[in-house]
Symmetry: C2
Subunit: 289 residues, 2 copies
């Protein structure tokens, strides 16, 4: 297969870095994003601007989407002006937004009907991973289009795994978020307990970070909490979105997720305190108030 | 200070390995443990047996305790035949049991009244850490006795931190257990979600273990769950004990710990299914039934 033009929809913090890697990888990049200013750097570097996702899709061999919410994914793909209706047969779609597994399955079916190929391929690794091209990419879809897209995905990430059929990438990302959700509650409670007993939280981390209590969050986010740094690495509002998707899916499967439900409820409480645009570590403010 | 005889009370899986390191370190070891057979190896290696903790304490310069529950610690230290009443002035006590911070404070005060010194020094690192002398030791007490005991503690562990005054070692261990508790819920729910959606849980771990969802439990216990290995690294019954202590202390401080409360409740449920002597990863059986 011969990919020349990659359309990129959604060039925010993550998408912008990702599109840049593809440009540097020698592809011609077509760009659409809601706020045109966010594409300035890419356009200056030679990317082509399209006024609508539909026009972009009609002129691209591969379309990558990195938008906000499942409702955005739905609108972009299967809305009245959706890209599925306007792309050429044989087009590949890669949705890298963290979105609903059920929606991913629906998009994949619609694509197939039209002789197109869709992969769901959400990522982890955040803005730093996007910038360094070291994202973890969790893919759902068929083997053949996955292999066809590997040269492109390899420009964006390192740990790239086909997890199964359509929706499996999103499901895997949900596993990731479910594990994080309860762990963040534990990290915050441990720090709150440390502070309340008058311990030095930094010294406590020295004792507990390297052992069985250790986690990425304890090593990376707990120090930020101690230093009152609640800047977003990952927004609370996006994390709540992800937890909602996971809970919806769990309910459909009749799966009991009390830890996840508690975490979502706590995150909604802290969001209501005005922290929706803070980083996920700001959950701690529930205990600090 | 000149320590010749170290009394060791409680030579189970952990205590047995620890006492052996001290013996190999050149100290004379006095031993008492509830089931004498568990001391056989130590006695064969030259340790001296005492029929009661009181007699042992009367003939030791330092007494280390590694028993089961706070009630055992209380009985050994301040019961009618307690070691505090029978030890010589100037004796050092190191309680390495995971026990109640409030009790540690009480023991420390009683010791001080008698011209003795007490440290609370619970550990993490499990049987492997005890065997290899690589335990993390979280210490509460005064600086001087802590420094005096360092040559002994160094034979048992690597990451040895004086966290603060009496009780601070136990409080730090509670932080450790609080962080683990919610994380285990997240790990189990993530795996349960993966299985229920038909994903390959091992493949999912490949995608999520190295990133923001990563933790010691996800890397070390999730693979055991996948392989139906519920052998105890750390017993559920002991973990429940620790969570109870932490919740008691949190309540005293008026600290809200919903994640910990949920974890304890779930662990009690699985314990009631007959899993109290399984490893903490057997929490997963709540989802697998």
């Amino acid at each position: 297969m011969n990919v020349k033009k990659i359309g990129f929809i959604g060039t925010g913090v993550m998408g912008g870095s990702m599109a840049k890697h593809l440009l540097e990888g020698g592809y011609h990049i077509n760009v659409y994003t809601r706020t045109k200013e966010k594409a300035t750097e890419l356009l200056d570097a030679g990317a082509s601007w399209y006024e609508t996702p539909a026009e972009l899709a009609a002129d691209s061999d591969v379309v990558i989407t990195m938008v906000g919410f499942p409702s955005d994914v739905e609108e972009v793909y299967i809305g009245t002006h959706g890209i599925l209706k306007h792309a050429k047969p044989g087009t590949y779609f890669i949705d890298m937004t963290t979105s609903s597994p059920s929606l991913a399955i629906q998009i994949s079916r619609e694509a197939e009907k039209r002789g197109m190929f869709a992969l769901d391929a959400p990522v982890s690794g955040g803005d730093v991973g996007a910038k360094n091209g070291t994202l973890t990419i969790m893919v759902g879809g068929e083997e053949k289009p996955f292999q066809d897209m590997m040269p492109i995905l390899t420009l964006l990430g390192q740990n790239i795994v086909l997890q199964g059929s359509a929706g499996s990438g999103q499901h895997t990302k949900m596993c990731n978020q479910i594990a994080i959700a309860s762990n963040m509650v534990g990290v915050c409670e441990a720090l709150a307990y440390a502070k309340k007993t008058g311990l030095d939280p930094e010294k406590v981390l020295t004792s507990i970070s390297a052992g069985a209590a250790g986690s990425w969050s304890l090593s990376n986010l707990a120090p930020r909490i101690i230093n009152d740094n609640f800047e977003p690495g990952f927004y609370i509002k996006h994390f709540i979105k992800d937890m909602k998707i996971a809970i919806d899916e769990a309910e459909k499967m009749n799966l009991h997720v009390p830890g996840l439900s508690l975490a979502k409820q706590l995150y909604e409480s802290v969001s209501q305190l005005g922290e929706e645009n803070s980083g996920t570590q700001a959950l701690f403010k529930l205990w600090n108030n």
